[in-house]
Subunit: 220 residues, 2 copies
Amino acid sequence: MKTKRKEKKIPQETIRRLALYLRGVRKLTSQGLSIISSNRITKHLNISPDQFRKDLSYFGSLGKRGVGYRLDMLIPHLEKILGVDRECRIIIVGVGKLGSALLAYPGFLNFNFRIVAAFDNDPAKIGKVIEDIKIEDISRINKIVPEFRVHLAILTVPSDSAQIVAEKLVESGIKGILNFAPVNLNLPDNILVLNVDMATELMVLTYFSNKVFDIKGFKS
Amino acid sequence: MKTKRKEKKIPQETIRRLALYLRGVRKLTSQGLSIISSNRITKHLNISPDQFRKDLSYFGSLGKRGVGYRLDMLIPHLEKILGVDRECRIIIVGVGKLGSALLAYPGFLNFNFRIVAAFDNDPAKIGKVIEDIKIEDISRINKIVPEFRVHLAILTVPSDSAQIVAEKLVESGIKGILNFAPVNLNLPDNILVLNVDMATELMVLTYFSNKVFDIKGFKS
DNA sequence: CCTTGTGAAAACTTTCACAGCT
DNA sequence: AGCTGTGAAAGTTTTCACAAGG
């Protein structure tokens, strides 16, 4: 990333970890805890307490020395930083098997993400209702995105059409795309794209598991 | 310490990019190209040519100065490094909506990943066949993993049971896990875990899209 | 002129260590 | 005594710049 701001530089991975912390501290709250140390928070997250404190310090100080962090302050703090204190409207584009599965995924609501529409170009699917969401023709993206002030799109169309559909999304005013199609999208710099590519993840696992073999002296 | 090979430190992200390169060069081959420069390869990947050459250089030199890379050598080279030159057997554990979608995902085969079994604990599902794969009872993991010499597992069970199921997978001899449950798995160090967490990705997108607003001076 | 391969510099991220507050 | 917050050190990754080869 090439942000050339004078603001102190926040590592990208810090943001990803903040999301992890939010999950973690919510779980601890539900266990009845109210004040908690960096040590305790990170115990089950495979992250060092130092890293946690450093990550938080980018956004001002919140803990009490000698004491720890108040969960009732920490949770809203993290939610505010991540922007999940307000509802974020999202759409799913491409209602194949994966798109349908994501439509039904309950975990989005925990973080204030609301799926407001789903799109496909298959006439057999358009008009059907899945999980209370009516499937719309893809040509209606331009109408619905501004109307519902949609921020983000989950893109689960076939690779062939990913680029062109992504361009439509950009045109309609979307700000970011979570792309499940295994292609690199070429879009303007101000559009954020994160790729989720299952085959790549498996390759990374394969590479490192072979490495472990080597080091341990095993044979496959 | 025990590795006999030259001990250069290879960045983790390099491996992820190699998978990207493999996708890219395969596409270029299908366009009839046979020799190609780092510039051309990375043109549509949002990666610099320098990065590409550096990444490759960790594994020895393969290109010809003044010329470029021969695709018929580059592709097998990348495949070998990533370990996708041999079949890798995988299983899917948890055949809910997401698990079923992944069972049907055709992209795994391009990289020699073969799904050999699927597991669930729901009696209503056990015995059913999806995409030519019979769904087995989760208790049979211990039998099937060694029998088919399964390397990797895709974990798509509910969060509550993810840890305990993961431990069963480790017991059975699995080497790595692609975890879709939004919890941190605590497993031995020699087991590789990669997490795919849709809500986290959306939060990262939200964070950065708000940042872009700020920088550009827009309002939401 | 091409383009690769690679040390060296620059940039970035994590870990350390300790001052300072409760 | 216990824990946070944070500069400074250590470690890691990317970018630069250029020698060397077709």
